[in-house]
Symmetry: D3
C-alpha cells in the first residue's frame, strides 16, 4: 500500500503511537449539514481509499455517508446519507445509524454499524462499489453496539466482535465474538474479554469495545479497542490493543495494561462529548511496518495516529494486563 | 389428555380464570435443600407428566430439577439438579439456571431457561426421557430472559420468543420473536409487542415477558405472558394473554387490556418477593376445552389456575388493548 | 348527622383513633371490573351518603366512579366510570383519574382528583346530583397530586391544598395552599408544611399530602394528612393531623409528631402496595363529637377508622412536632 | 431601532445565524463580585438599552442585576443586585433569582425569572425605569423554570411560556403556555411542544425551554428556545426556533429539526458548565430585517449571535420537525 | 444457665435451627408509645435477664430502652428511653439510637448501638446495673452500623466487629474487626469477610453484618450474622453463621453457604419492612448444648429461635462457602 | 524560608489569591510512565523542598512518588513509586494510593494519603529522608478520603482531619477531626464543618474536604479546603478557607462564603476531569507574609497560586458564611 498516510515518529516522542501533526483531518462541518463527523471507517479502494463516515447533522440525527480519498487524509464525503436497498431481507428498518466499520471479505465490502431497531443493535450491509448499498438482517437482538467483523472467515464462518449493551449510556460492557455461516443467522457467542479491575487498569474499568477491523499478525489478531473510565465528570475514552488467537479469537493472548493513546490534545478534550478517543478503522502495511489508526475525537472530529505495527505488537506483549 | 388437572369454575366466580382450591400445589420446602420452588415447567409425559422445576436452595443458588407426577398436582422432584451433557456444542457454561420452559417438538423435549453466561441469557437443552439432558448453544448474547419456544416450526424454522434485558432488575422489557433453521443460529429478530402505556394498561406498563409455550388455536397462537408494574413498593407481576398470527407470530391480533390473574391471595402477596404471579407452563385439552396454567407465586411456591380454553380466547378478543 | 357510621372505642384501646371492627368495608372486587377499590371520597347526600370511588380495573387503569349508601358503610358503586361534560372549559382531557376528594361548597359538590394531562395534575369537577358531572380547567400545571379543597371560601376565594410532584414515584413532597376567585385561575401559592426531619418524626420524613377535606374546629382547620417514610423495602404511608389558622391556612398551629394510625393490620400491610394507610375523606358530627375517616389500605381496599373529634384536636395540640 | 447591535454575515458562512466576532461580550468577572455573568436579558430603553443580568457571585449565589448600554454590546452593570419592593403582593420571598427575561407590555417593563420559593418556580416583577422594581405573585407552584411572557396580550389575557421541572437537574422538560387576566392568577394551561424523539432530532430530545421573548412575525410567533441532549458526559444545550399560531400559541406551526446554533467555540465549550448555548433575549428590527440573540455561554459569559429575521423564519418553515 | 429459654426441636423439623412456637415474643405495641419493638439485645443478669430494646415510637423516632425478665421470654420494658450520662467523654451527642448489642466484659455491661452523630456510626456505653448508663466516645467516624464487641479482650485489646456504610439504605456492606487498648481510641482495622458472589450464595450477596455477641467454641468464635439479597421488591434479610479464629478474628475458618433461618413465617414476611430476619443477641449454655437467638422480625417484633450449639458449629463446618 | 516560590500580585488583580504566571508547573507527562501528575504535596526539606506526588500511569493506576526541588517550582520526580516498609504494623496492604499530604511533626515527615484497602481509607506513613518510607496502620475503616494531619499535637494528641465517604464518586461529604495518642489508635471523632446550603454558598454545597496541612495563625488554624458543586455536567471543585480554634479544631470561627480560587484557566477547565481546582499543599512564611498553595488542576497537572497570608486570614474573617 504505497500511498497509505504516514508521518515518522517525532524526535522527542517516547510513545508507541503518535498523532498526525495536522490533526484533526476532518472538521465537524465537513459537509453542509453536519454538526460533527467522527467515529468513521476507511478501507483501501481502487487506487485510493473509500470510507463510511458518521456525520451527525444539525438535528443531531445519526447517519452514515460514503466518502472517497486519494491519500487517506483529504476526503470527499457525499452530502447525502447512504441509501440502503434490501439485501438478504426486506426488513431494513433503521431508526438511526452510527459508528460504522468497513471490511473487504471475499468479493465485497461489508459494513457494520450501530442500527436503531427498537434500540441500538448491530446492522449489517454490503457494497461492491460504495455507490449501491444493501442492508441485511440485523445480527442480534437489541441492545448491542460496536459490531466489528473479522476480515476473513474463521473455521469456515464469518466472525463478529460486539458489545452487548443497554438502551442508555451503558455503564458496563464486555467484548464478545459470534459466528455465522451465512451473514444472516448468528450463534456460538463467546466472551472474549471484560472490562478490567479498577486497580489493575482503571482506564478500561467501566467498559470496553472493539475498534478497527482486527489485523492478522504473526502473534494472532491485533485488536485495537476503546476502554472507558467513569470519572466524576463523565466517561473518558482511550485506546488500547490486544492480541487474540488466530483460530480461536475468544482466547486473549495479550492485552495492554496502559492505554496506547488517551485524550490529551484540545480537539480530544473539548467538543460535543469531551475526553473521547474512539478508534474505528486502521490501515496497515505489514512490509513497511506501518499502522495508521483513524479515531473519533470528542465525538466531534476525525483524527489520525500512527505507529510501527511491529512495535505495537511488541508493546502489547510486553505491557500485558 | 384424560388426566390433566382440573376443577370446575366456582359458582360465584365471574372471572375467566380461577385458582385451584388447594393452592399452592408445591411448597417452598418440597425438597430437602430448597428455600423455594417456583417458576417451573411441566409437559405430558408417558401416562402422566414430567416437569423441570426451579428450586433455589438455602444458599439461594438457582438451579433446575426434573420431576414426575401422575396427576399433575402431586409431584416427585429429584433431590439433585439436572446435569447437562454436551448437545450441539461443547460450550455448556452455566453459572446458574432459572425459570425453565419445556416443549415437545418433533422427536424430543426441548428446554429453555435463563442461563448464566456472563449475565442472564437464553439457554437451550433437550432430553428424550427426562433422565439424560443435553445442553445446546445459548440462543442469544446476554442479556436476555424468558426464552419460550413455539411447539412447532413456523415456515420451516424454529421460533422463539424472548425478552432482551439488562444485567440487573431490568426496569424495561418487550417481547421479540427470533427464528432458527437448526436450533443453533438465530436471526430474523422481530419485535412482537411492547410494554403498554401507563394509561392504557398499567399492570403491564413496565415490562412484559412470554410465559408458557404458546398454544395453537383457531384464532392463532395463544400466548400467556406476564406483565409488570413498578409500584412505589416494587414490581408487581400479573398474567395476561395475547393472540398472534399463526404464520407471522410478530403480528399481534389481540392482547388483553385487563390481566387474567393478579396477586390477590396470601401465597401470591407474601413470600420472598411479594406480589408475583409468574406463569411458566400450561396444559390444555382442546376437545374438552380445558386449560391449566402453572405459575410461580411470590417467588416462593408453585400454584395452579384453570380456565376454559375457548373462553380465554374469546376474552382476549373481546378485551383487547 | 344522625346516621354517620360509628363504633365506640374498644375497651383495651389507648389510641386516639381506632379501626372499624368489620374492616375493610369495601372489597377489591366490589364492582365486576375492579382490581382494587381504595383512596375514595364520601359526603353526606340527601338522607344518606354519596361518594366518588377510585376503582382501578383489571387493566390497572385508574378511574373514578359514583356510589351511594344509606349508612356510609354498605355502598352501591356504579359499574361505569363518571363521564365528564364540559364545565368551565372545553379542554377536559384526562388520561386517567385517581385519588378523588369531594366537598359541598355553596350550591354544588366539587370534586378534585389527580388528573392525567401530560402527567399527573389536579383535576376539578362538580356535580349537583352525582349523576351529571362537569369537568373544569385543571388547577395547575403538571406535576401535582393530592389536591384538596377547603369546604368554604377563605377571604372570598376558593382555597386548595396540593402537593407538587414529579412524574414518577415522587420521593419528595410538601403541602401547599393556593387560591382562586373563580375555580379557573389559581394563584397566591403558599407553602403550608413540609416533610419532617428524620430524627424528629421519621414516619413523615419523605413526603406528606393532604387527605380529607379540612374540618373547621374552634382551634382552626383540622387537616388529616398522610406521611411517608422510605424504608429499604419501599414507601410506608401512615396518617397524622395538623391544625391550621382559620383565615390563614398556610399557618400551621400544631402538627402531630406521632402518627394517628399506621399500617398494622393484614389488610393494610398486604395488597397491591403493602404498608399503605391513605386517608381521603372524613365524616364528622361536631355536636356528637364523632369523626369517621375513610382510608385506602394497601392500595387495594377501603377501610374506616373512628375518633372523638375533640380528642383528635387535643391530641394534635399535645403531641405537636 | 437604529442602534441595535449588528454585524453582517461573514463571507464563508452558510448558516442562518452567525456569532459576533468579538464574543464574548461580557466577561465572567464583569463586576467585582462575579464568578460568572450569563443567561441575561436586554430590551430597548430610552435611546439605548437596559438589561437584567444573572451574575453568580464567588459564593455561587445567584442573583439578578440591572445594567445599561448605549450600543447593546458594552454594558455597565450595577454592582448591587436588584432590590424588589412589594408589587401585587406582600409575599416576595426569594431564596435566589436566575435566568431573567424582560419585556415591555403596555406601560411597563415586566421581568420574569427563576425564583427560589421552596424550589425553583417563576417569579414576576415589573419596573418603569430599571431603578425601582416591584415583585408580584409567583406565577406557578414549584417546580418550574424558563418562564417567558409574550410581548402583548393574546385574546385579552397575558400569556406565559414555561417549563414544568423537578427540584434537581431535571432530566425531562416540555414547553407549556398559561394565561392570566391580571398577572396574578394563572390558568388555561396548554402543552405547546415536547422534547423530541431521539431519532427525529436528538439535540432537543432530553428537554426544551423557551428563550427570548417571542417575536411576532407574519408567520406567527417566532419562539427561540433551547434544547438539551443528555450525552454520556452531561447535558449539551443548543438553540432552535419555532413558529406558533398568533392567537393560539399552543399550536406549533413549525419547529426546527436542526439547531440554529450549538456549542462549537471555546467560550461555549469550556467554562463552569461546558457545552451550553442558552438564549435569553433578542433584539430585532423588522424593517431592517435584523435579529440579535443574546445567549449565555458555558454558564460563564454572555455572547451574541445575529441573523436575518426573515431568513430565520424561512429556515424554521423549511426545516421543520 | 438453668433458666435460659428453650424448646426442643419439633419432630418433623430437619433444620439446624427452629422457631419458638409462641413467636413473636414481644409485640409491636409492647410499651404505650411504641410503633414497633425489634432488633434488640439481652444478657443474663442477676437471677434472670436484662436487655436493651429498640422501640421506635409512633413518630418513628428510634431509641433504646432497658428491660428485665425472669425467663427471657416475658419482658418488662421501661416506658422511658435510656438516659445516658457522660462516660469517658462529655461529647455524648445522639440524634437517634438503634440496633443495640450488649455484652459483659470484666466488670460491667457494655452496650453498642447505631448512634446518630452526623449520620449513623457506632455508639458505645456501659452500665453496671441497667439503671444508670454512661455513654463513651463513638468508636468510629460516620458512617457505620452493626458494631458488635467480642466478649473478652483478644491479645490484650478490646475487639469490635462493624460494617462500614453510607448515609442511606446502604446497598453494600462487609464485616471488619477493629481493636482498642482503652475503649476510646480504635485502630488495626482488618477485613473479616465480604458479601458473597451472587452465584455462590445469593442470600448474602448484597451486604452482611454481625449479629449477636460472638460465642467462643472449641472451633473458634461462632459469629451469627445477617445477610441481604436485593430482590426486585427490596432487601430480604436472613441469618447465617461463621467460625473465626480465636486469636485472629479476621481469619474466617468456615461460613455457611445456606442460611440458617430466612423469612418464612407471617410475622417475618409482613410488617413495617417485610422479609427481615435480623439477629441481635444470643443466649447459650455450652454444657447443655443450647443456643437461643433473639431476632427482629419484619422490623416490627422480636422473635426467638433455638438450636443445639454443637449442631450449629457442625453445620457451619459442613456447609461452608 | 528565603527560597519559597513567589510572585507579587499582578497589577490589575483584585482577588486575594492569584495564579503563578507560568502555570502549570508540572506537566501531565512529567515522568515517562505518567498519564497525569496532580493533587500532590510538598514540604521544606534541607535547603530546598521535597514532595510526594500523585502520578497516575498510562494504565490509570494511582500511586505516589517522591520528588525534590531547589526552588519549589522545578521538580525532579522519581520514576519509580514509593516502596513502603512496615512501620507500626505488618499489615501494609495498599491496592492504590492517591492524593497525598505531607507534614513534619517532631522528628519525622508524616505522609497521609487515600489508601486502597477494600475501598478508599486513610493511609499513614512516615519518612526521615524521603528515601526510606514506612507504612503504619490505616487511621480509619473504609470509606474515607482527604486525611490531613495537623502540624503539631493538640492537647497532647495527634489530630487528623478527614472526610467520611462512600465507595464511589461520593455525592456528599463533611469534614471531621479525630485524635490519637500514638498514631495507631484513633478516637474522639468530632464534626468540624459541613457542606453548605445551596442558597448560602453553592460552590461548596455538595461536599467539602480539607486540603493542605493547616497553618497556625494568630486567628487559629487556617484550613484551606476544596468545595464541590454538582452541576448538570458533573462536579466542579473550587478552593476556600476556614479558621479553626487553635485548641478545639472542631470549632469553626470563620469560613469563606465566596471561593478563593475556582476553575477559570484552560488548564483548570480542560483535562481528564474538567473544572477541578484541588489544593493539597501549602508553603508559607509568616514573617514575609507569603502563602503559596499547590493544587491539582483538572486532575491532570499541578499548578501554584499565591496570596498574602494576612490577607487570606482577613478575607476569611470578612467574608464568612
Amino acid at each position: 500500500m504505497s500511498n497509505m498516510p504516514w508521518q515518522d515518529k517525532p524526535e522527542n516522542c517516547n510513545d508507541v503511537m503518535w498523532r498526525y501533526s495536522e490533526n484533526p483531518i476532518i472538521d465537524r462541518y465537513a459537509i453542509p449539514t453536519s454538526n460533527s463527523v467522527f467515529n468513521s471507517a476507511v478501507v483501501p479502494f481502487k487506487d485510493g481509499f473509500a470510507g463510511v463516515f458518521r456525520c451527525d447533522n444539525k438535528a443531531v440525527q445519526m447517519n452514515i455517508f460514503a466518502g472517497f480519498s486519494k491519500d487517506g487524509i483529504n476526503w470527499d464525503i457525499e452530502h447525502e446519507p447512504i441509501q440502503m436497498k434490501a439485501g438478504n431481507t426486506d426488513m431494513i428498518q433503521s431508526d438511526y445509524k452510527y459508528d460504522p466499520r468497513v471490511v473487504f471479505i471475499e468479493d465485497r465490502y461489508w459494513i457494520t454499524w450501530c442500527n436503531g431497531y427498537h434500540g441500538p443493535t448491530i446492522g449489517i450491509g454490503y457494497t461492491f462499489d460504495f455507490k449501491e448499498f444493501f442492508q441485511c438482517e440485523n445480527a442480534f437482538l437489541p441492545f448491542n453496539r460496536n459490531g466489528v467483523l473479522f476480515p476473513k472467515k474463521i473455521n469456515g464462518k464469518y466472525a463478529m466482535l460486539s458489545r452487548p449493551s443497554d438502551n442508555g449510556h451503558t455503564p458496563f460492557g464486555d467484548i464478545y465474538v459470534s459466528f455465522s455461516p451465512d451473514m444472516k443467522y448468528w450463534g456460538e457467542h463467546r466472551c472474549v474479554m471484560k472490562a478490567s479491575n479498577f486497580a489493575d487498569s482503571a482506564w478500561q474499568c467501566t467498559k470496553i469495545g472493539a475498534g478497527p477491523i482486527p489485523i492478522l499478525t504473526n502473534e494472532g489478531w491485533l485488536m485495537i479497542y476503546h476502554g472507558v473510565i467513569n470519572t466524576c465528570n463523565g466517561f473518558r475514552y482511550a485506546m488500547g490493543s490486544a492480541l487474540l488467537e488466530e483460530n480461536e479469537p475468544d482466547k486473549v493472548k495479550y492485552r495492554t495494561q496502559p492505554y496506547l493513546l488517551g485524550p490529551a490534545e484540545l480537539y480530544e478534550q473539548v467538543g460535543d462529548v469531551p475526553n473521547v478517543v474512539f478508534p474505528c478503522a486502521a490501515l496497515h502495511d505489514t512490509e513497511e511496518d506501518k499502522l495508521a489508526v483513524y479515531y473519533g475525537a470528542a465525538d466531534t472530529v476525525v483524527a489520525l495516529a500512527f505507529g510501527k505495527l511491529s512495535e505495537v505488537v511488541e508493546f502489547t506483549k510486553n505491557n500485558s494486563l
